[in-house]
Symmetry: C2
Subunit: 340 residues, 2 copies
DNA sequence: TTGTACGCGTTATCAT
DNA sequence: ATGATAACGCGTACAA
């Protein structure tokens, strides 16, 4: 209820200056032991709390960092944020969350907004594609450090933390080949994001390097949701020669496909194998459990935070930029375990 | 790279005062059309952005609000946050996230910290129980509005948004009775949180009001995780007269139970019915799909945000406090659909 | 060791 | 319609 006490209140109480109070509170050596203790005591008694806003304005450091994601309540993103917060909170940072809803105009506004709020850095999983990256460029040219995670853009002087999408896709496809699958289809999210292109590439190269052909009909462009996955599966199974496996670039679309396949007289994994991407929690608990490529999102968040911290430290001297690529780990479950 | 431009820079450029610039930027009527346009133009040209920190210090409003949860990356909490952000971002607020890791000391520190950062309000799902609520009391007595969501404490003058845990539990139990289940067990999370007590109460009353007895052995106290659920199921099934249904106060523990039951020659739902609580995404995709009580987390977040906004508006006049109770909706799926 | 004075960027209250 | 000045709360260079 009562007004917040400031260092001036303490100063008045003790008949000294605010400067002295400030020094006492900040362990400044230029102060007598006596007054320091007196100030500390009085501060505690008057329930003084530092106003971080004033400090921020003065120092130019808000100790806030912005995290920008499409949606918070997707396991992948919330887990990344979990990692970021775990890493940054102990260092005295607060994490400000914003969701773009995959809306690019909104994303740009959010960035401006965070910049206006004087955040010390922005960690972002963008919805922009490399083709449109120039729209984001002016904002990125500020002195505030940016770090891309998962969905990055190719800017030479901006740090990023991603997983090895190519390798993950390659491993998944190779695994299906090793299981004896002969006609492996792929769900390809065609929203222009680089990571889906990399997954497509990993899929193709795994096929080629094992002596398989890349069949265009087996590559289905779609949106990242369950309904699209059902449609895609239907399309595939109506082909003259249907595939006997799917490597999907997302778990959600694969879920739709599995639902569709379970309506057919087809047994997974004996007749048909599937592998997804993201290792969403539900893949573990489905029947059959679904193999998927894990993106270790919490780790990714921690790493993005670490890169940010390094960048802050190096601010004075030369600016450091990093392109961190985390490994993608294939988690093999029942849905692709034909051979015992 | 270049230093941020302030209203003083614009003032100097135009040979006028910062005050005039400020007026032009804020649509203050006390300014000529000419100068306003000139200022706006120059501001745009010089790429001026308002420093919200300075505004915050001056106005005493940071336009940040803190959201405190045990963990961000639990579907329930991330969905609540989703709702909060959806509601508050359009009003110009930024959402600051902190996780307590269910650590009470940490929770208290987080609150102090957010208060120091001058947040305009705190939305919190606490890990404290009503027995320990006095520890939190000093922080709550500040002028900054607090709003509890889901995990609340009983303070008469603090708002809260919860669901009707009692009713949800009652409905779930009644539903099992209607399915013909005769011996319904209950998983009870015994961490002292009020909402679990309410669920237990709903369970008991549903039984009693249908003429069933409450069998103490059928009420298993446990932690909210899968392993505990497996253990609990084992205990139950080793009883002289095992139950034929479980109403669990959490989906996670129920998941463990289902895993255990599936190792037995027992068919769900024909021999055994189960209903969970929270409607976690995986419940929908499991085989069999799991019935669960939905807590409409996004709605809860939106509502908590709305209550906060109302409270802000009413600040000047009389302080408004609200106890909002959202309905709990039982979602019936295969795991409890014995009768066709 | 302590006090004085200023600046961080903004808005609001007086004057003019 | 515009200018001058104070104030928000803090830290710090400089002076004493």
């Amino acid at each position: 209820m009562s007004k917040k006490t400031t260092i001036y209140d303490i100063a008045k109480e003790l008949q000294i200056t605010a400067a002295t109070v400030s020094r006492a509170l900040n362990n400044n050596p230029r102060i007598s032991k006596n007054t320091r203790e007196l100030v500390l005591e009085t501060a505690a008694r008057m329930n003084y709390k530092q106003n971080r806003l004033a400090l921020a304005l003065k120092s130019g450091k808000s100790n806030n960092i912005g995290v920008v994601v499409p949606y918070i309540n997707r396991n992948f993103f919330s887990s990344v944020i979990r990692g970021v917060e775990d890493e940054l909170y102990p260092k005295g940072y607060h994490v400000i969350i914003s969701q773009t809803h995959e809306d690019k105009d909104r994303e740009l506004k959010i960035i401006q907004n965070l910049l206006n709020a004087q955040v010390d850095g922005i960690l972002i999983s963008t919805s922009y594609t490399n083709e449109e990256k120039n729209k984001l460029e002016p904002a990125l040219k500020k002195s505030t450090p940016f770090i891309f995670f998962d969905r990055k853009l190719d800017f030479p002087d901006i740090s990023s933390v991603t997983i090895d999408d190519y390798q993950g896709a390659y491993d998944a496809t190779k695994h299906l080949i090793d299981q004896g699958c002969k006609r492996i289809a792929h769900f390809y999210v065609n929203n222009g994001l680089e990571l889906y292109k990399n997954r497509l590439l990993g899929y193709k190269n795994a096929l080629l390097q094992s002596g398989f052909e890349v069949v265009p009909e087996y590559i289905i462009p779609l949106k990242n949701d369950m309904e699209a996955g059902m449609e895609a599966a239907k399309t595939l199974m109506n082909l003259p020669v249907p595939p006997d496996a799917i490597f999907s670039s997302t778990d959600n679309s694969l879920l739709g496909a599995v639902k569709y396949l379970q309506g057919l007289p087809i047994h997974i994994p004996d007749d048909f194998c599937v592998v997804g991407f993201s290792n969403e929690p539900f893949t573990e608990f489905m029947e059959p459990s679904i193999s998927s490529v894990d993106q270790s999102p919490v780790e990714m968040g921690r790493m993005a935070a670490k890169v940010f911290l390094e960048q802050m430290d190096s601010e004075q001297s030369v600016k450091i930029h990093k392109k961190v690529i985390l490994p993608a780990k294939l988690v093999i479950r029942k849905s692709s375990s034909k051979i015992q």
